[in-house]
């Protein structure tokens, strides 16, 4: 997951993306996991205490699909990624690895693409699926399922793959997340 840090700094330097300070971890709550039931209290020491704690702020949310989210916010992208990594690890170390769906990083995509046309920043996401251990880009263009900007996604995938991020190679797995609650 840490490969995104380098990719982000390279792409940002080239003016292709701007991170939006936010990330989220989506998971299902089967209701019988003690760690998940007291997640807020469990995560506080992980993120706020001890030496080298990132102090990334976080909140919990539930989306329209009854899926749970840990939403993280940090102006420092490196800290944001490492906090996301830490939270994911803490959850899977406490018996919730089956519940973890994905980690999602928000970006503004400003990239000048092949056609050279100017366009304003587009909201995009880099989704890391825990089951695939790989990333893929997601650019929704509407709130309903299926509305996504596939050409931009292809282009983004190319960019981040070039920077050493492990991008899921089978496109059929690039499942979307419409209505991300942050």
């Amino acid at each position: 997951m840490s490969s995104v840090i380098r990719a982000e700094s390279r792409l940002r330097a080239r003016g292709e993306v701007a991170p939006a300070r936010r990330a989220g971890i989506i998971f299902s709550d089967p209701g019988d996991n003690a760690f998940l039931s007291s997640l807020d209290a469990e995560l506080r020491p992980v993120l706020y205490e001890g030496e080298g704690a990132t102090r990334t702020s976080f909140e919990l949310a539930v989306d329209d699909h009854d899926m749970h989210w840990v939403i993280l916010e940090d102006g420092n992208f490196q800290d944001l990624v490492s906090s996301t990594y830490t939270v994911g690890n803490a959850m899977s170390a406490n018996g919730a690895s089956e519940s973890l769906l994905a980690a999602v990083f928000e970006f503004y995509f400003t990239g000048a693409s092949g056609d050279g046309a100017y366009r304003s920043a587009t909201r995009s996401y880099w989704i890391y699926r825990y089951d695939l251990k790989a990333f893929y880009p997601f650019v929704p263009v509407g709130d309903s399922e299926g509305e996504r900007d596939r050409p931009t996604e292809m282009q983004l995938a190319q960019s981040i793959r070039k920077e050493g991020v492990r991008v899921e190679s089978s496109l059929e797995e690039w499942l979307g997340l419409w209505g991300i609650p942050f």
């Binding site: 989506i26 299902s28 699909h65 009854d66 899926m67 769906l101 994905a102 056609d115 046309a117 366009r119 989704i127 699926r129 263009v141 309903s144 399922e145 299926g146 996504r148 900007d149 596939r150 050409p151 931009t152 996604e153 292809m154 089978s170 496109l171 059929e172 797995e173 690039w174 499942l175 979307g176 997340l177 419409w178």
Partner: protein, 306 residues
Amino acid sequence: MTTFTTRRFNKDSGLVMRMYFTMLMLGFLYGLFALFLWSINFPIIFIGVIVGVMVGVQYFLSDRLIMWTSGAKEVSRAEEPKLYAMVERVAAKAGMPMPKVAVMDSRVPNAFATGRNPKNALVAVTVGICERLSERELEAVLAHEMAHVRNRDMRVLAIANFLVTLTSFLMTMLFWNMLFGGFGGRRDNQGGVIMIVFLVTLVVQFLGQLLVLALTRYREYGADHSGAEISGDPGALASALEKISGVMARIPDEDLRRLQSASAFMIIPAALKGEGGMNLFSTHPPVEERVRRLRELEKRARMGMR
């Protein structure tokens, strides 16, 4: 005045047969269903009127509705001279009146047509498709969309939409009714009847969706065929389809959360999801199959087999 010659490809009579057969089956299925509901004195007229009004509004206002929901803006000859002239050329070749032309400010390459008849037609393209396709390919795409209008596919879709919406509406109603009881007091013997109606509706809904899927598939192949006839260039549509959706069609429409929770009730059938027009790149039927058929058509045209 310029005259245009359209090349005739031999009619795909098998396709036409299957299409009419499917429509017949659809009519038969829902006819039987109506008879069934009527025979048990189910208040079908009331529901039919509600859904009929809903679908009717969509049908008669389709061009305005779709402009409103997709954010397409109608353009004049002065604003988009090249695109306008291209549509004009296609309309002339197809022997149709000039439709309204609209552009959507989206990078997603797509095109659609709507309108209940050639006089009320609207053809819309995104900025993305104009950027990515060659002139020849774009013209073939426009011809495909105009073919949908000429074949009156919006009407077919509206009727299919009416039938399937009716059953899904009914199913939702019956479902809630079974959960909470209702329709007055005599629950003892009515519960059983409602259960039976629900099960029959479920079966009709399932069969209806299969038939509608087949029907939209045939209409799509049909529009490819007559679109190629209008443009005289089946290969151009094939390469446009390949260029734009070849790889990208593999990126799914589905939500990741579906892996975890099977969605409880599909109120709107996926095949008809909120669209009053014919979308160029619907994943159904498969693009590969459409391309294969167009290439075949191209080959036959080149060999002079008509």
